[in-house]
Amino acid sequence: MAAFKQDLFRNLLLGLRARTTEAACPFDAMSLQERKRAIKCSADVAMAAARRGVAGAAIGGRARWPKAILAAAAASSSSHSPGGTCKVRKSACCKRRVARRRVDAKRTIRGYAAAASCDVARRLVRRRTMALRKVIPGGSAAAMDEAALLRETMDYVVHLRAQVDVLRAVSAAVQRSTFLGYIFVLHFVDPMKD
């Protein structure tokens, strides 16, 4: 896991550097939201790349979410309208939810007495499985059965935790050093003017 974190960290820096140097907008010119999105995107891509790199030879190299993340990132970068895709996705989700509610209402009106407990349980599980598919990257794309979905979830959770650790450490270090920088600026600049 330490190797994965190192790879993640390195990839993150590479990605950020590439983003700032080759893109037209340097980091200072971007707004906070854009910066946040850029960092998050780089972190996700870094995680996916590290996952593929580290576990490529290992047995567990059959996870699908890295591919999904990278594909999504490539698509978004090529189209260069990430906000648009997000909106499209949201509307699709809303439509699905609305449709499902109507269907459920019909069901309850008709066969209220026939709603066995196992059916209800099954419906709940199905609903949650679909929700899980939406959360896990690449879940809704491929026709995965439940077992594969659960395995993807396990893999994704572990690596997501590692990503969170890395980001937390990086942000803590950055904060510490910039704090020192500010102190220095406050400290040394003024006396020199005297």
């Binding site: 820096l13 906070l32 047995i59 349980a121 929700a131 997501l160 969170v164 980001l167 050093s177």
Partner: protein, 413 residues
């Protein structure tokens, strides 16, 4: 009359005996074959001709044709472990070794089964209803166990897998339900693993609630990523991320934090002469902006000592390259990851100052600080001896928490 002991000690399945005995008892003497139902099996067995009785009683390898049941021979005992336990254990093992999902070689630890019958082997994926004689109990017609013989790995996606399933008593034994049961057990095994992975799931029972917890956990992790990236974006609007390489030096601290809780090992590794400081943060600060030859940490340490204790080493803006960090090399040894940026020379100075002053901020008065500042301004290259005289950096309880506020306090005047 009914005999008292049910034929449980007999390896023969009651149903088979009955089925076998049905034609047999008709022909054999009625006196022995008493009673339909389960109780009469033993006596019925006695009424059988000897050869048939022996065939029924002994664990047989080839079924007698008189049984008129499934042609496949049944293994003597249960050679392979039942399906539910096997992949679960394998999953656990795989999980603890590396985080590999249930490995495809899951049935390989299982002892190789007896050679399946030709019919079963050539049948499709999960076929071969075979009759096992190991079921005990009364002669209910449901008292059969069926075994499927595995012939391959439990691969998920690639190849059609043979699954070793034991149908329990009272369960249907056709291939569809067996397949369904195998699938369900695989899913349950994975759910168990997930329950252990996600905190707070072990108490919850029921698939839907566990899935709820999992979804919440994943969403919270994703939100944490967003929040942390927001923090990163907000913290340094000035600093270009190209210069983030200097923070690679924190990699040591990060790795230290990952590998060992307090980073004390790191201290002992890289600063043996200095002894173990009480302050982990102090060490991290020092190492963050550590100047010096990357490959020779001890050299810097000795430099530190040479100048008298308490003098941070002289640094020179020698490293011109922005990306001195070799990003392509493997980051295994963190000593290779220390770099020194020109832009951050001032920050290094600050850190060195803070590191140097850290243990002594409590004792410094304002006047001393001012004089110190002046000296530092005049000579930025070498830090002067402090007013208090050089002292080895004493173990200070918590410089990290003490130094910044006192810094502010000292500077505010």
């Amino acid at each position: 009359m009914r005999h008292a002991s049910p034929p449980q000690e007999l390896p023969a399945a009651g149903g088979e005996i009955q089925a076998a005995l049905a034609p047999a008892t008709a022909s054999s003497a009625r006196a022995g074959a008493r009673g339909g139902g389960g109780g009469g099996s033993f006596t019925a067995l006695l009424g059988l001709p000897t050869s048939q009785a022996i065939e029924l009683l002994l664990p047989r390898t080839a079924p007698p044709p008189a049984l008129a049941l499934a042609p496949a021979p049944a293994p003597a005992a249960a050679p392979a472990p039942a399906f539910p336990s096997d992949p679960h254990l394998v999953d656990r093992a795989a999980r603890f070794s590396t985080f590999a999902p249930p490995s495809p070689s899951s049935p390989s630890p299982a002892p190789p089964p007896p050679p399946p019958p030709a019919a079963a082997a050539n049948a499709g994926k999960r076929k071969a209803d075979t009759v096992d004689r190991a079921s005990k109990g009364k002669a209910a017609k449901k008292g059969k166990t069926a075994e499927e013989k595995p012939a391959g790995g439990d691969g998920d996606d690639e190849k059609p897998a043979y699954v070793h399933v034991r149908a329990r008593r009272g369960q249907a034994t056709d291939s569809h339900s067996l397949a369904e049961r195998a699938r369900r057990e695989k899913i349950n095994a994975r759910m168990e693993l997930l329950k252990e992975l996600v905190p707070g799931c072990s108490k919850v029972s029921g698939t839907a609630l566990v899935l709820d917890e999992i979804i919440n956990h994943v969403q919270s992790l994703q939100r944490q990523v967003e929040y942390l990236s927001m923090r990163l974006a907000a913290v340094n609007p000035r600093v270009d991320f190209g210069g983030l390489d200097s923070f690679l030096t924190t990699e040591c601290g990060r790795i230290a934090g990952f590998n060992c809780k307090n980073g004390i090992d790191l201290e002992q590794v890289t600063w043996p002469e200095m002894g173990v400081h009480g302050a982990r943060q102090l060490m991290q600060l020092q190492q963050q902006f550590w100047h010096g030859d990357l490959a020779h940490p001890h050299q810097v340490a000795s430099q530190w000592e040479k100048r008298g204790d308490g003098h941070p080493p002289v640094f020179s803006n020698s490293n011109p390259s922005l990306f001195g960090y070799d990003l392509t090399s493997s980051g295994k040894s963190f000593t290779q990851s220390y770099i020194f940026l020109t832009e951050f020379s001032c920050l290094s100075l600050t850190s060195h100052i803070s590191a140097w002053l850290g243990p002594r901020l409590l004792s410094l008065t304002l006047s001393c600080q001012h004089s110190l500042e002046k000296k530092m301004c005049t000579d930025r290259r070498t830090l002067p001896v402090g007013a208090d005289g050089p002292n080895p950096i004493n173990a200070c309880p918590e410089p990290e928490t003490i130094s910044p506020p006192s810094f502010c306090l000292g500077l505010a005047a």
